[in-house]
């Protein structure tokens, strides 16, 4: 039943990347009868393959191709070769994600109008809004089985949540619950309910968490309209003399170069690889890279204002037990510049196992100040900060002039400087996070610096005007009609919410648009 398309078949839609954007788009197009070839740089791993051991799993799933970092963000110092913690596999980072599925707030679609001018920020309103996105969010929530949406009940709270809830409610917070999670609280859509196993980041071995790897991908393949080629790394998108893209050159699993022809190309390699591919596809007609007449390809890289707070208590918490991120405080997600910054942030439960806690609690730290913290590991609770960061033109993905990847292509450099608004927000969130744990009885708290980025956004942003961004409101590049961007790099601004639900909603909407345009022979 699985389709097999010829390399010379120029009627197919070619999708590069199979994560939350590309994997969903592939299935949604296939369901609408569109022939699709999806190229995925990583291999295929299913729940039985996932490893509940942090470092072993990292070795199995993480994208560790050469990358460089620059800028004043602490990740560049602590993890200079690993700017992002994302997945190289069929299904992409939907294997690793924690499942938090929040809609944007209404005002977050209009950050520029709402926040006004912020010095040094390249703020822009999205060309779409909450009303436009509402039906697509509803479809995305149904696809992912998001708890506390539709008639799906919430997950039960684990120990880590109970500590967060106790402290947050003691401080008077109201919006405290076990989250809207793409992790089943009851059997749903042929997936079982959460068994409170932990290791959400290492791939859910029960399949209780939604991942494209074992939902959208096989369902798309079952239509006979989708062929997924794994371990195929795209080197370059090519175009004809009319400036329309014609397909992509890639290295297949045997190390041979192939060229797949296509009618439409959709790029969904995440916010580092997608702009890198456009830049690496520069030609005499497009010397600055594809779809880059605005000069915005690779710019406005966002990664959310993040950080963690851990607290040590007098008695055991055992935060690693149960759903990793099923706990949230939403009160600070609001727009309230009286706090000293624009935008807002969410506080979400988070835990790391002992091996990753040692690596991430205070990278580079040593001595008793560090080890006495780990001695309290069993009595620790943890939360993650995720807030809106400011898009800045100078935060960007560029091609390294010195480092090349295993295929000989320039590696991406990820440059990021914190904006003063980011710093003010993180500082505010650290203080509140620590106050929450103290209110629950913590004897010691740790404002832990950001991990390598899991939310990579904005490097091919959506804009009403071609001069301001890379794609239009359908993710279609302003410059090249049959070239689309289908991942989080479309984000005009980042909002305070974990991005996957919005990436999925945009992908469903884009599939509808592409299928309709193909039907009208406009593509």
């Amino acid at each position: 039943m699985v389709a097999k398309f010829d390399l010379t078949d120029d009627s197919v839609v070619l999708i590069i990347g199979t994560g939350a954007g590309g994997g969903v788009l592939a299935n949604e197009l296939a369901q609408r009868g569109v022939k699709v070839v999806a190229l995925e740089a990583g291999g295929r791993y299913l729940p039985e393959d996932y490893i509940n051991d942090e470092w072993e799993s990292f070795g199995q799933l993480a994208w560790v191709d050469p990358r460089t970092t620059s800028g004043d963000w602490r990740v560049a110092k602590d993890f200079s070769g690993l700017p992002a913690w994302i997945v190289k596999a069929v299904g992409g980072t939907t294997i690793h994600w924690a499942g938090a599925s929040l809609r944007f707030q209404e005002h977050e679609w209009k950050a520029h109008s709402t926040y006004g001018h912020v010095a040094g920020a390249n703020l822009l309103d999205w060309p779409i809004d909450g009303a436009e996105m509402a039906p697509w969010y509803e479809k995305a929530e149904a696809k992912l089985g998001v708890t506390r949406t539709g008639d799906r009940p919430g997950l039960p709270g684990n120990n880590n949540f109970k500590v967060l809830e106790k402290g947050a409610k003691a401080l008077g917070y109201k919006e405290v619950h076990t989250g809207r999670m793409a992790i089943n609280s009851i059997d749903y859509d042929e997936r079982m309910s959460c068994q409170q196993t932990g290791f959400c980041f290492q791939g859910c071995k029960w399949g209780a968490k939604w991942s494209a790897a074992y939902t959208d991908i096989p369902r798309g393949e079952a239509t006979g309209n989708l062929e997924v080629r794994d371990r195929c790394h795209v080197l370059k998108i090519e175009h004809d003399d009319k400036g329309r893209v014609t397909g992509a050159l890639y290295v297949d699993k045997d190390g041979n170069q192939q060229f797949q022809k296509a009618r439409v190309v959709c790029v969904a390699g995440n916010s580092i690889e997608s702009p890198r591919l456009l830049l690496n596809s520069a030609s005499s007609m497009f010397p600055d890279g594809l779809a880059n007449s605005s000069g915005q390809v690779g710019r406005n890289y966002m990664r959310h204002v993040t950080g963690s707070v851990y607290g040590v208590f007098e008695k055991p918490v055992r935060m690693w037990r149960g759903t990793t991120m099923a706990g949230i405080v939403q009160d600070e997600a609001r727009f309230d510049p009286s706090r000293g910054f624009v935008g807002g942030y969410e506080l979400e439960t988070l835990s790391l196992g002992l091996p990753f806690m040692a690596a991430f609690l205070d990278p580079g730290g040593w001595g008793r100040g560090f080890t006495s913290a780990l001695d309290g590991y069993e009595n620790m609770a943890g939360m993650w900060i995720v807030g809106e960061d400011m898009p800045q033109e100078t935060n960007r993905i560029t091609l390294s002039s010195t480092v090349k990847d295993q295929h000989g292509l320039p590696a991406p450099d990820v440059h990021f400087d914190d904006h003063p608004n980011d710093v003010a927000m993180r500082s505010h969130a650290y203080k509140l996070g620590e106050a929450i744990y103290r209110a629950a009885g913590a004897t010691r708290t740790f404002p832990t610096p950001p991990y390598p980025s899991t939310h990579n956004l904005g490097t091919n942003r959506m804009s009403a005007n071609a001069r301001d961004g890379v794609v239009n409101k359908h993710g279609q590049t302003h410059d090249i009609a049959n070239l689309f961007i289908s991942d989080g790099s479309q984000f005009t601004t980042g909002a305070a919410e974990n991005p996957t639900l919005t990436i999925v909603a945009l992908a469903i909407r884009q599939a509808d648009h592409i299928a309709a345009e193909l039907g009208r022979k406009n593509l």
């Binding site: 051991d53 120990n159 290791f199 007098e314 009885g441």
Partner: protein
């Protein structure tokens, strides 16, 4: 005995019969062994000098001191450096550490009896490539030992036991 794993085979009588010199918390045996004073473990140096190995074990403990962990876990964490390929770099690094200790008025690093004194010596070289190599290696070498996890209360994987849904994911009772 292999150089690849510490072992607990020597009895105290056997240890005492070999003749040894005390060095920090480890004992340097005449025949190229490093061992715990109570014979809880012993390790045969393959490429490093026994004195170097004993100093490296002490250094590892001073970087990540956990009083609940015996030296054998630190031995496992650093034994990968005990190869002909890495020995010259380690010998040079430990020589520099001893020189720094002498600069601070001690005969060598192991002669500094107080942890605070040894930590002060380490602080003086914490930006060196040698220190960062040892520290960085310990992050995984020490904390990724499954045998260490229970000593911190960490339970590791739970999938094979059906997760925690019936085993205490929400059993906190002191809040």
């Amino acid at each position: 005995m292999t150089a690849a794993s510490p072992w607990r085979g020597l009895t105290r009588r056997q240890l005492l019969s070999r003749g040894f010199a005390a060095a920090g918390s480890s004992l340097i045996l005449g025949a190229g062994f490093v061992a715990a004073p109570d014979a809880a473990w012993a390790y045969e140096a393959a490429a490093l000098k026994p004195e170097t190995l004993a100093t490296l074990i002490r250094m590892a403990r001073d970087i990540y001191p956990h009083d609940r962990l015996g030296d054998e876990f630190y031995v496992v964490a650093i034994k990968g450096y005990d190869t002909p390929e890495t020995a010259p770099e380690i010998e040079a690094g430990i020589a520099a550490l001893n020189a720094a200790a002498q600069g601070a008025g001690f005969a060598d690093y192991l002669s500094a009896g107080w942890e605070d004194d040894r930590v002060a010596i380490l602080r003086g070289m914490e930006h060196s490539a040698f220190f960062q190599k040892i520290r960085g290696g310990l992050v995984t070498g020490l904390y990724n030992q499954k045998e260490v996890w229970p000593l911190f209360g960490y339970e590791g994987e739970s999938f094979s036991k059906g997760g925690y849904i019936d085993r205490g994911f929400d059993d906190i009772n002191w809040l």
